[in-house]
């Protein structure tokens, strides 16, 4: 069945790799590029833990083939911090105990960044709806919503998005 060559920019670095067509983006990121910050939570497309930005919009990287991102720009949780400074959404999760057990956090943060880009001042209900595709299975959503609210209040969200994904 062979392989296909893809060229993709991930967290600002250009890569060119031969991949099997059946390779999922999340597996390419984790196993080929070592971007293990993006996690697999469910294997059923439900949990959103593997959320990354593809050409500036959030997607579940378990539901995208690596061959589909040829020529595209991908930002993972590992590409959010700039010059050693946490992204405002990462900082807000840290300060508001939004991580909890931490497993859903990469996806929650990537989806929250996408949400705030669309709606810089969301209500609690809009935050919950915006995070509809991301599941927390350890604690609950209270501190996660609080973190996103705090990040919105900080007002520097759009400035903090990695250049390629903005």
């Amino acid at each position: 069945m062979g392989t296909r060559r893809i060229s993709v920019t991930v967290d600002g670095v250009a890569y060119s790799d031969d991949v099997e067509p059946r390779t999922l983006l999340v597996h390419y990121l984790r196993e080929r590029l070592g971007k293990t910050g993006t996690v697999v939570g469910c294997d059923t497309s439900n949990c959103g833990a593997c959320t990354v930005h593809l050409d500036g919009r959030s997607v579940k990287s378990c539901s995208v083939l690596a061959v589909q991102v040829d020529g595209s720009d991908v930002t993972t949780i590992e590409g959010l911090a700039q010059n050693g400074e946490l992204h405002p959404v990462q900082q807000a999760f840290h300060e508001n105990h939004g991580l909890q057990c931490g497993y859903c956090t990469p996806g929650m943060i990537m989806q929250a960044v996408d949400l705030l880009k669309d709606n810089p001042d969301p209500s609690d209900a809009e935050i919950r709806e915006g995070l509809e595709g991301n599941l927390c299975r350890c604690t609950g959503y209270q501190n996660i919503v609080k973190s996103v609210k705090a990040a919105a209040g900080a007002g520097s969200v759009s400035a903090g998005v990695a250049g390629g994904a903005a």
Binding site: M1, P21, L24, G48, V59, V64, L65, L115
Partner: protein, 284 residues
């Protein structure tokens, strides 16, 4: 979990895609649109095609244009774009509102209008609004293009009028400018399939319902037009009592399934309640 191995082609035009599919011979082909249903199916190995033909590189399949008395929506236009597109909001608000409820934001960024219609999942949210608004489906094949009306497009469970070697390329939706609209669905938890959904578009003149179109999601193997409700609504005052009375006809002509989410009787009950809510919200 990873999919079984397959060959992959990503043609750059509709014609090239049709040639690739025609050239597949005996190999089983799956057409990949946004992949938000197909990739999970492949990953769970519920299907293992020999060849996947990805429509993602075909620019002519994306976008929305004004086409006189209709708007024409490219099959690969994402749910997110259907939600936001001003032409759709102005002339087919029902589609925009329904698209906004599909799954979750990440899925809406990838999943496509045409892909959802071609997949024809009985619990999917876009078929019933498309049916209610009388959409026409433009299907391209080796011998040219043909157009299929909404009432002939959905033929069975996960089955449409799209034949072997054909592709859905565009959906023409008659303009419903100035109509009120609402999509009301019921599910148990966030971003799961609709147990029942109701798509309603209503034109009100001086407090009276002049025209009404109602489509039902997951009340049978295919989306169903609630014609008894539509007829009962026309000429009625746009009041809660009159609308709820008309909505009592919502399960007429339906054939809902019983499954783990709901039995048939509960679905019939939901159809009536949700139809009342949808039409009431649509009249504003």
């Amino acid at each position: 979990m990873i999919p079984a191995a397959f060959d992959y082609e990503s043609p750059a035009s509709i014609d090239e895609a049709l040639q690739v599919i025609a050239g597949a011979g005996d190999r089983e082909v799956k057409v990949l649109a946004g992949g938000q249903s197909l990739i999970p199916v492949l990953r769970l190995r519920m299907n293992a095609p020999d060849l996947v033909v990805d429509l993602g590189r075909i620019a002519e399949l994306r976008g929305v244009r004004d086409d006189g008395d209709a708007i024409a929506i490219g099959a690969m236009t994402t749910h997110d774009d259907v939600t936001r597109e001003p032409l759709i909001r102005q002339h087919a608000l029902l589609l925009s509102l329904a698209a906004q409820t599909v799954a979750d934001p990440q899925v809406r960024h990838r999943g496509t209008f045409g892909g959802s219609l071609a997949h024809a999942d009985p619990a999917a949210d876009m078929p019933a609004p498309a049916l209610a608004l009388g959409a026409e489906f433009v299907i391209a094949g080796p011998s040219g293009r043909r157009t299929v009306g909404a009432s002939d497009f959905f033929t069975d469970l996960f089955t449409t009028a799209i034949g072997e070697g054909e592709l859905l390329v565009e959906v023409r939706v008659p303009k419903h400018t100035g109509w009120g609209a609402h999509y009301e669905k019921f599910n148990h938890v966030a971003h799961t399939w609709s147990i029942v959904g109701v798509a309603a578009a209503v034109r009100v003149e001086g407090g009276t319902i002049a025209e009404a179109k109602v489509g039902l999601t997951n009340m049978g193997l295919v989306p169903i037009r609630a014609t008894a409700v539509e007829q009962a609504l026309v000429g009625q005052p746009a009041t809660a009592d009159a609308i709820r009375a008309a909505a009592q006809n919502a399960d007429q002509g339906t054939n809902p399934m019983s499954d783990a989410s709901a039995d048939e009787h509960y679905r019939r009950h939901l159809a009536k309640v949700l139809t009342g809510r949808a039409v009431l919200a649509a009249v504003g």
